[in-house]
Structures are given as C-alpha cells and as structure tokens.
C-alpha cells in the first residue's frame, strides 16, 4: 500500500519535472519575495536615516533671521520655488517686537495635513520649531534668574524590557508572513497541474483505472504538492538568511537575523500549513472545470490565508484568530522571534485545526474522485 503511494508520488514529481517552466515559476516566489522585501527595507531605512534637506516656502523670512538660520542648520531651507514642498511657514510681522517683549511670537505653518507625503516633513518642521522654542524658553528663564530645571517637575525613568531582537518584531512579522506564504505559492502550479491539468490531458481517468484506491491517489498528490510547498519554504528561508544579513537594520536600532533555530522552527510549524495549502489547492482545482478556471479560483482562495496572515502580523486580529490556521502559527512564530516563551497551547491547537481542515478537504477530494462529474469535468 505504501509502496503504491511512493510510486505515485514519484510519478507526480516526474510529471512536474517535465513541465519545468511552470513549476519553476512557483519557486520564483521563494527567491524573489525575500529579495523584494530586502529592497523595500533598504529604501525604507535610507529614507528614515538620512532625511534629505527639506525645502519649504517661508513668508517674511527677514522678520526672524535667527530662526531661519537655525532651521537651515537643521536642513530646513527655503529652496527653489519649483522644488518647494507644499509647506508654507509665515513669520508674523510683529514677530520681532513680540519676541523682544517676551510675548509669544506668531509663526504660522500652512499645509495640507491629509497629504501623506507631507506628514513626515510637517512633523519634522514642528519638532525643530519646538526645540528652538524650548531652548529659548530655558535661556529666558536663566536670564530672569530662574533655574530652567524647575520646568521639569517629573523626571521619568524608563526601563525598557525589550531586547534588540524583540524590537525587530514588527519587521520580522512582515517578513515571516511572506515566508509562510511561500508554501501556498510554491505548490500552486503543481496543484493545478496535477488535478485540473491532469484531467485536461485525460490522464486522470487513466490513473483511476489502475488498481489503486482514490484515497491513495489523493494522498500521493497531497504529498507531492506539500513537498513542493516545503521546498519553496526552505528556499525562501535560505535566501532570506543571506539577503537579510545585508540590510543595515542597525540604523533602525535593532538587529534582524534569520538563524538556524528559526529556520528549524519555521519548517516545523510550516509543515501543517503546507499540508493544508496542498489540500486546499487540490480541492479547489478538482472542483474547477478547467485549468484556467482553477487558476482563477485559486487566486481568490489564496486571499484567505493572506488576510489571516496580515491580521496576525499587524496585530489587528480578534482573539479567536489565534486558534485559526496560518494566523495562529504566525503569532506563535512572532513570539518565538521576540525571544518570548513559545505559546505551545496556541500552536498545538491551531496546528490541529489546520490538520483537521486538511483531513476534511482530503476526504472531500477522495469522495469527489468517485463522481463522474469531477473526473470528466462535466
């Protein structure tokens, strides 16, 4: 019995190997996704750590030359008219005379705060104006014979329990999501090919005419698709391990490393997910009438694990999500990355639910392969 399954798995893999291009296309994700993520992080870090000079428009700059000089020493200048961002800073006409009298001097910042491109620049300008104002405030107190420290009644001491690893949790959550998604993408083409594809080539009926049970056929197909998913996952992890080490995470104040214990953990936790992915994809493909239809359905069906994964990574999930497939495993993995205790209960239950769903789907497939409607795509 098991010999037959092994033989059929080999048959599936040989079939897959024959159509290298489409199968390899699935694995492209495994290599491409981590590289794309790295590229994205490179850009993000570059933007965060070396802010470009900010060009703004300033009305009446001659009213506050020292303020303007301070801003320009912080990289905020009145640049060429066409390069100016849509931020206008207006120095009031009575700025100098109010300042001289110790009255608050008006400076008006005019910008559209709903324009997301501007928000960062607006915050930067506000922060610098606030600093300038605070510094002057302190010196004004000194000039009046008062210790400026009286303005600081509470000294807040913060003891942060985070480690450099746990600070990377958010980033790694996103990265982990793309990794686990590899098991869905990598096996997808094979799943379609071995079900809807096989039916279109009329080899499915031939296979069913052999002395093997539909259960064995289904198991063999699940195993080969799972195998592909896992290969994709492993490949993603290996590529990530190298690619992520080139990203200058330290500039964000934490470190990200994909180490071997993480890879091991990920493979272990990913296995039930890969099995479920295989069952789901095969089931949907069998239900579809043609290869193309299967592709369309799968694209839609794959939104589901994607959404579960996103909900888990961004921590916007209701509590019940921690028991569900994909989101449950992802949350457990994120805890693991952060160096906290692995939530064993959560992981066990979500993995069991994952396997239960897989079993149901497999059972459904086994039943359906007995129906002519499915076998001949009627």
């Amino acid at each position: 019995m098991s010999n037959k399954i092994i033989t059929m798995v080999r048959k599936e893999l040989i079939d897959a190997a024959r159509d290298k291009r489409s199968v390899m296309a699935g694995l492209y994700y495994a290599v491409g996704a981590p590289l794309l993520m790295c590229g994205m992080f490179f850009m993000l870090i570059g933007q965060l750590t070396s802010p470009e000079d900010l060009n703004i428009k300033i009305n009446n700059p001659q009213g506050a030359p020292d303020l303007i000089k301070y801003l320009s020493s912080k990289g905020i200048t009145q640049g060429d008219a066409d390069k100016n961002k849509d931020i206008l800073l207006v120095v009031s006409d009575d700025y100098a005379s109010n300042m001289a009298k110790g009255i608050s001097a008006d400076v008006t910042l005019i910008a559209d705060a709903s324009n997301e491109k501007l928000q960062k620049s607006i915050r930067r300008l506000e922060k610098n104006l606030q600093q300038y104002s605070s510094e002057m405030g302190s010196l004004r107190l000194i000039a009046r014979g008062i210790d400026p420290r009286v303005m600081q009644p509470i000294k807040l001491n913060v003891e942060d329990q985070a480690t450099p690893d746990s600070k990377a949790g958010m980033i790694l959550g996103l990265a982990t999501m793309t990794m686990i998604y590899a098991v869905f993408i990598s096996g997808m083409n094979l799943a379609i090919d071995t079900s809807a594809g096989e039916r279109e080539r009329n080899s499915l009926a031939l296979l069913l005419s052999h002395p093997v049970s539909t259960g064995q056929i289904v198991i063999a197909k699940i195993i080969s698709v799972t195998l592909f998913g896992m290969i994709g996952l492993l490949l993603t992890l290996i590529v990530s391990k190298f690619a992520y080490s080139f990203v200058p995470w330290q500039e964000l104040g934490f470190s990200v490393s994909v180490n071997s214990s993480f890879i091991g953990m990920m493979m272990l936790v990913g296995l039930p997910v890969a099995i479920m992915a295989a069952c789901l994809q095969l089931f949907v493909s069998f239900m579809a009438k043609s290869f193309k239809e299967a592709q369309s359905y799968l694209t839609i069906v794959l939104m589901l694990p994607m959404m579960l994964a996103m909900a888990a990574s961004y921590d916007i999930a209701p509590d019940t999500l921690q028991w569900l497939p994909v989101s449950g495993q992802l949350q457990a993995l994120i805890e693991f990355i952060k160096g906290r205790e692995l939530p064993g209960m959560q992981l066990a239950i979500s993995s069991l639910i994952t396997l239960a769903i897989s079993a149901l789907l497999a059972f459904g497939m086994q039943k359906s392969l007995k129906s002519e409607k499915i076998v001949f795509g009627l």
């Binding site: 020292d66 100098a96 009298k101 302190s138 010196l139 107190l141 000194i142 014979g145 008062i146 934490f254």
Partner: protein, 523 residues
C-alpha cells in the same frame, strides 16, 4: 547639570537632560577653586541605578535600554597585588548589530573626576552611529562614580548663593576631605587608572579598542597609546590636553575665550549696537567685585524663596566661564554682563545656578591627578604666565594649598613627552573652547605620524557633541584610517545670535510702527 555642557534645550525636552554632563577638564578645575562651594551641599553618592554585580543586565540613568554592567577587582596599589583591592565598575553598551567581539570603543570621561557611567546618556547619543556596529565601554575610572569615589562630603554650609568663597581655606578643606577618605590617595593618578582600563579590556576579551577621550579623557587616551599601542585600533582626542601641557595653563585658554566672545559681539552689528561698552563693563564688574562682594536679597533660582546673594568675583567670573562651555548659553553672556553692570544680577544668578551643584566631579580624585601630573611640573615661566589672569592666579593659589595636603609623588619627566605614534588619530578642537584651545591640538600632533587635526569654528569644548564631529568618529572607527576623513562639515554655522535682552535674539524694533520695525530688521 552643568557645566559646561549643559544644554538648556535638552533640559526641557528630555527629562534626564540635566544629566548630560560633559566632561570638562576645566570644570573641574573651576570646582577646585570653588572647593567650598562644592562642599556647601552634602554631596550624595549617586547610587547605581541597578544592582551591579559582575556582568549583569542593568539600566543606567537616562537610558531605557538594557546594558551590561559589571566590575572587576583590582589592587589599589598595582605594585602590591596582595594588598587592598577596590572594585572598578564598567558598563558595556552593546552594539546593535555586533560585528564580532574583537573590537569595541572605550569612551573616557573628563574632569578629571567625572564618572563615565553617569554620562552614559550623552555618550550614547553622541556615539549612536558607532554603537550600530561596535560595543561602547564606559569605565568609572578609579576614584570616580561607582569605583571607590574620592568624594568630599562637606559639612553643609549656608546656601551656596550666600557664601563668600574667599572665606574658605583650600588647604584646610583638603585636609578635612583627606581625613574622611578611606583610600590611599596617591594611587589615584592616571597611570594607575590606565592599568585598570587595560585589565577591564582583558576581562571583557576585546582584542583591540577604539578610544574616544574628551577633555581630561584625552590624557588617558594618550597614555593608552603610549603604554599599550598594540591594543589600540584608532583614537579620537576631543578637546585635547597634550602630554606636554600642564592643565594649569588653562587660565590662558579662558582669557582667550573671553576675548573671542567680546570680539564676536563687537563684530556682530546687533550685539555691538546693543552692548557697545561690553569690554569696559566686564572690566568694571570685575574690578568692583575684586574690591568687595555685593550683597543683595534675591529669589532663590530653584525654590523661589527670598535668599541672600553674595555676588563675589569668583561667582561672577566662574558663572560666565561655565557659560562659555555651551554654544547656546554663551549667547546670553553679553546681556548678562551688561545687566550686572547696571546692578541687575538676575541673569548672572541664573547662570550661576546652572553650575551651583558642582560638576559631578569627585574632588579627591581630581586633586590626585592634578597634584601628581600638573602641579609638579609647573615651571617658573608657566607660573608667571598663569599669574597674569584671574583664573590662573586663583587656580595656583588653590592647588598650592591642596596639593601640599595631598602630597602626591610627582610623575617622572618622561610623562610630559609628546606621544609618538602611528595609530590613526583624529584630533578635534573647538575654536571657541574655553579649556583646551586649538593650539593645544597642534601641540598634540607633534609626533603623531598618522593623525589629522580639525578645528570646528563654532564649537566650544567637546566638539563631537556640538557638530558633525561624531560622524567623523564613526567614519574613523568604520574605516580604521584617518586619510579619507574630511572635516568640511565642521564648518557648518550652528551658532545662535546673541541675546539682545532677556527675551530675544532678533533685532529689537525701535517702536511698534511696522514700517520702522522692518527697516530695523533689514539692517
């Protein structure tokens, strides 16, 4: 708080800002002059923020992040390994992305007598780029901070605002302090401390160190270059005291910084118009206070309660001198002098309050270093030149008395030789520095064959804290060579205009008529 490096800006914005002590050699010396003032308040030994045993996780003042703390036990007298031992404490601020454990940066505080660990926040901010890839080590040098501090706890005098410093006898105060200390003060010199530093390096297992020394810390860094060159990768000397120089020559540097301030103001149209007689006013105040202190009733800068202010020559000059350490506080000096000459001591009291509680300096350790290494090599010429200025004279007087009590053995003459080395070395000087002028940087370069000296035109003492100097350090640590380092960015004008009254740095309109106001602004 303090001293020189106090930045009012941070004080408000960040809760712990007051702890950003920068390390000012001069500060210490000033503190020495004001020994009684320092004693005036019971000095509390700052308790470690975390319980420190060997190599534990801990938090340091002002930083929320976990650090590694530890201590090693070293003989108080290195030549008697069986004798009394003291604990030397250190903190390792771990690299964010460690590039292996073989190299780290050792940041050395100034004073002498300041605690590196108490200044962790300032070092962390300044060295943020270096910390991305390298561990940063802070060691409380023996006699400072948590490492058997040689603090002198005074008797609790009247308010520091009310005392007259000239009533105190530095010799007597030093004797009292010496009697209270449970330590052989002759073992608290720089060379003994250097052996501790090397022991900490070995204990932590780093092959090579990058050094950053500021102010007095530059002397420790230079000694490290001389005695253990094989363990040094690069060196940054910020506000350097060359080995050839006794810090007691600081009086000239202070006078130079005052001259530069007066000159800056007269070159600035707004400042010159507002304070045309600045130099004369400063002289007038100085000579009036030299005659007799002025006593008045004021509101205490902190409590607001009525209190007596005895404005002495020492307070007046000392507060102005401390203000010269910070580029932003410096802007207030012309206004302060002018108001004082008009009889208004509010601004000078405000400045004095900023430095009133000492500079976080362990005065006993300070005396051990200065008496062994600077006092003893005072030549007649140096003494004559120091006597030309108020600060130099006061300093000589103070150390004459306290060093007689401290009775330190003199360092031998090789101590004062220029450092000859080919270790990549970056020297930073601030043009406006009231402690270590750019000419001292030149002197330090004498026998350094692989060094660059940059002068930051708008910086005072502690260039890396005030300019892009910290980026140059990061570059040096990363590349391990000075050849490519370009100091152009140090020329960026970060100065603020002088305060023209107690409120403004902008031109004061002559009246409220807008048209006229604009003309005034445009000039």
């Amino acid at each position: 708080m303090h001293h020189g490096m106090y930045s009012p800006l941070r004080a408000r914005v960040y809760p712990t800002l007051t702890c950003r002590k920068k390390v000012a050699l001069a500060v210490v010396i000033w503190a020495a002059i004001l020994l009684p003032t320092v004693h005036a308040q019971p000095l509390t030994l700052s308790a470690p923020t975390a319980i420190i045993s060997t190599d534990t996780r801990c938090y340091v003042d002002g930083l929320s992040e976990q650090m590694n703390c530890g201590s090693i036990s070293v003989p108080e007298d290195h030549d008697q390994p069986e004798g009394k031992h003291i604990q030397v404490h250190y903190v390792v601020m771990p690299a964010i992305k460690s590039s292996g454990k073989s190299e780290a940066l050792l940041a050395i505080a100034g004073g002498p007598g300041q605690s590196a660990i108490e200044n962790a926040k300032g070092f962390d901010q300044m060295l943020a780029k270096v910390r991305q890839t390298h561990d940063v080590i802070l060691i409380d040098q023996r006699g400072t901070g948590q490492s058997n501090p040689l603090q002198c706890v005074g008797d609790g005098f009247e308010s520091p605002l009310a005392i007259n410093e000239s009533d105190f006898d530095a010799g007597e105060e030093s004797q009292k302090c010496l009697d209270e200390l449970d330590a052989d003060v002759t073992q608290y010199d720089s060379l003994s401390a250097l052996r501790d530093f090397e022991a900490v390096r070995q204990h932590l297992g780093y092959q090579k160190l990058h050094l950053y020394g500021v102010s007095y810390g530059t002397r420790m860094a230079q000694l490290y270059m001389r005695h253990y060159p094989e363990h040094i990768a690069t060196v940054t000397l910020d506000g350097v005291v060359p080995m050839q120089q006794s810090v007691l020559a600081i009086g000239d540097a202070i006078a130079r910084a005052f001259d530069l301030l007066i000159q800056d103001c007269s070159n600035n149209t707004l400042c010159h118009n507002q304070f045309p007689q600045l130099a004369a006013e400063l002289d007038k105040m100085d000579s009036e206070l030299a005659q007799a202190p002025k006593i008045s009733m004021i509101a205490d800068p902190r409590t607001g309660e009525a209190t007596q202010l005895t404005m002495t020559r020492s307070k007046f000059n000392g507060a102005l001198r401390m203000a010269l350490y910070s580029p932003s506080v410096r802007a207030l000096i012309p206004h302060t002098i002018h108001q004082a000459s008009q009889g208004n001591f509010q601004p000078i009291t405000g400045l004095y309050a900023m430095s009133m509680d000492g500079a976080g300096i362990a005065m006993g350790m300070h005396a051990s270093v200065v008496c062994a290494e600077d006092w003893q090599r005072l030549t007649p010429q140096l003494r004559a030149s120091a006597n030309q200025h108020y600060f130099g004279r006061e300093m000589l007087k103070t150390f004459e008395q306290s060093c007689a009590v401290w009775n330190m053995p003199a360092v031998d003459s090789s101590f004062s030789q220029a450092i000859a080395s080919d270790i990549p070395t970056l020297i930073l000087s601030g043009e406006l520095d009231p402690a270590t002028p750019p000419s001292w940087g030149e002197m330090a370069m004498e026998k350094l064959t692989n060094a660059k000296h940059f002068v930051a035109p708008y910086a005072t003492h502690g260039v890396a804290y005030q300019s892009c100097g910290n980026n140059l350090i990061a570059e040096l640590v990363e590349k391990g060579a000075v050849t490519d380092i370009d100091g152009e960015c140090l020329n960026k004008d970060i100065s603020r205009n002088f305060y023209l009254n107690a409120s403004t740095v902008e031109a004061i309109p002559r009246d409220t008529d807008t048209k006229q106001a604009k003309t005034a602004l445009n000039q």
